[in-house]
């Protein structure tokens, strides 16, 4: 049912010429990051890293916890500024945009937060209608149609009058996804979309990300730990660790990669280049040198 709905939208878009524009080589990447360096205090998050997010594809950013995956999304969206390097989004350098231009550019990007980040004082319907009310002068009847279409697409048309506190974790993310796509952005970023979801909710989200990407001609960037789910829908994966890109390519290429870190991550091994133990003094010395 959902698939049919989005296929219909995709056909409609193609008919209107919405996603059928010819692409030049420069158009291929919606985001280009070169020589990115970023530190928090003494801790280096990125050290001269490069990324290319191809237009119209699903790119996953993966890596061990605390390696800066979400930070990368925040850098791309201009929420924080890089220490060095350039970040081009749709050909515009993020660091050179003033506040007004940055907000204009952000209307073309959507971001699905880990928590959903729905406005807690508004119903699901009002949450999804919010971007339309803020950025368009559409009549109320059209806003209603658009909101219900997006809610139907994520399976929550019947939950329109619920408050965010009445939704389950999976429903919250789906409602937030409807809000994210209501302005038809060119790129959607998903911050840990699968974390804490039951298998059914996870399956729904995986399917929705894939369908939205195809039907709306979006570019998707997925930050995730879940190798299986992310790999099943990704065209390209970046594996980052210690501030650098440790591996990049299609899921199949990364599975064949012989690098120890890529292997440890892709196979979910508990020990390896990312150690099981937090750095500590020798176990024997520690036990024998105790106060007891």
């Amino acid at each position: 049912m959902v698939r049919e709905f989005w296929t219909a939208i995709a056909v409609g878009r193609a008919g209107l010429g919405g996603s059928g524009k010819s692409m030049t080589v420069e158009d291929n990447n919606i985001v280009t990051v070169r020589g990115l360096s970023f530190s928090r205090g003494d801790r280096v998050i990125f050290d001269n890293a490069d990324f290319d997010i191809p237009r119209g594809k699903i790119t996953s950013i993966m890596g061990p916890s605390g390696t800066g995956k979400t930070t990368l999304l925040r850098l791309i969206t201009g929420q924080i500024k890089a220490d060095k390097g350039t970040i081009l989004v749709n050909g515009e350098e993020i660091s050179k945009l003033n506040r007004k231009d940055l907000y204009r550019l952000r209307r073309k990007m959507g971001m699905l937060f880990q928590s959903g980040a729905l406005f807690t004082d508004r119903t699901v319907y009002e949450n999804v209608a919010f971007p339309l009310r803020e950025h368009t002068d559409l009549p109320e009847s059209m806003i209603r149609d658009l909101v219900l279409m997006k809610l139907h697409a994520v399976g929550l048309r019947g939950a329109r009058d619920l408050m965010p506190s009445e939704l389950s974790g999976g429903m919250t993310r789906r409602a937030a996804l409807a809000r994210t796509i209501v302005l038809d952005p060119e790129m959607v970023m998903y911050d840990e979309p699968f974390t804490g979801q039951d298998p059914i909710a996870m399956g729904v989200l995986v399917e929705l990300i894939k369908l939205l990407n195809t039907a709306l001609g979006l570019t998707s960037v997925v930050v995730s730990h879940d190798i299986h789910e992310a790999a099943s829908i990704s065209d390209k994966i970046y594996l980052i660790s210690e501030g650098k890109v440790m591996g990049e390519g299609s899921p199949a290429q990364l599975r064949e990669d012989s690098s120890p870190l890529v292997r440890q991550f892709m196979q979910g091994l508990p020990d390896g280049p990312v150690p099981f133990h937090y750095p500590a003094q020798d176990y024997r010395d520690d036990m024998l040198g105790g106060d007891a």
């Binding site: 929420q79 952000r106 209307r107 959507g110 971001m111």
Partner: protein
């Protein structure tokens, strides 16, 4: 010694940074007030949350403070046979000092802490970041209406506090202690000057409104988005606002009523 000087310098620089950040924050918020048709519903909502919901505490406090002032004033003045001047004492104390100061302190505790916690929770649950990502400036949408609601509410609450306080004082002095009500009102009217007393009190409350609202919204916006951070910022709002109100009150009193 060098380390001590270094840490002193570091904390001084940190304080200056916070002051600079809060200054640009309030200017950006006030410059970015949204269009009238969008701003009015937001402002109405905040006037209700910040102003109307503060009314019970302001009215009850005003009533009791007026009653206590009247009782204390009467017990002192009656020894000199001047109990008819209790109305004058009550009005001047309330309009010049207690009205603006106590209302501002109560406002900081009720509305200021609530503003900080609300904005802090919005930050912790990524609602503020999500607004930014939707392309809506949170300073315009979240902060500006709350700041304006604070500026408008506090002077009005101060006036209500004064009126209720005088009413409470009247009940005690006239109805209970038997002061002649003609003397009560005429002494009050003769001694209270609209420009020097009432207007100066209102100017004080406007200054307090600006200070308390600024501190409350900035603490909420600038906090570390954790439960501990929200708790700490809420406490800071009440402590900083109270100290700022008391300090500012001394300066304003010296300027307005000081004879030097």
């Amino acid at each position: 010694m060098i380390a001590w000087i270094r840490s002193l310098g570091r904390s001084g620089l940190g304080t200056l940074q916070v002051l600079g950040r809060s200054g640009t924050f309030v200017v950006q918020s006030l410059c970015g007030v949204p269009k009238l048709n969008k701003a009015l519903p937001l402002l109405n909502q905040q006037l209700y949350a910040v102003g109307v919901l503060s009314l019970p505490i302001i009215i009850v406090s005003g009533l009791f403070i007026g009653m206590v002032l009247s009782l204390q004033g009467y017990t002192i003045l009656v020894d000199y046979g001047s109990e008819q001047a209790v109305g004058q004492m009550l009005a001047l104390s309330l309009v010049r000092e207690l009205g603006p100061v106590v209302t501002a302190l109560l406002f900081a505790g009720r509305a200021g802490s609530s503003l900080t916690a609300e904005i802090g929770l919005m930050k912790a649950t990524e609602q503020i970041t999500s607004l930014e990502m939707i392309g809506v400036d949170p300073l315009r949408y979240i902060i500006a209406p709350r700041l304006l609601a604070g500026f408008i509410s506090l002077p009005m609450l101060t006036l209500i506090f004064n009126v209720v306080g005088i009413g409470g004082g009247y009940l005690v002095a006239v109805d209970w202690l038997g002061v002649y009500d003609g003397s009560f009102w005429s002494n009050m009217q003769n001694a209270t000057d609209f420009k020097n007393d009432v207007m100066n009190g209102i100017i004080k409350s406007i200054a307090f409104a600006f200070t308390v609202s600024w501190i409350a919204v900035f603490q909420g916006y600038d906090l570390v988005p954790t439960s501990e951070g929200i708790g700490r910022a809420t406490t800071k709002t009440v402590v900083y606002s109270s100290l700022a109100v008391l300090g500012l009150d001394f300066i304003l009193t010296a300027v307005m009523f000081g004879d030097f």
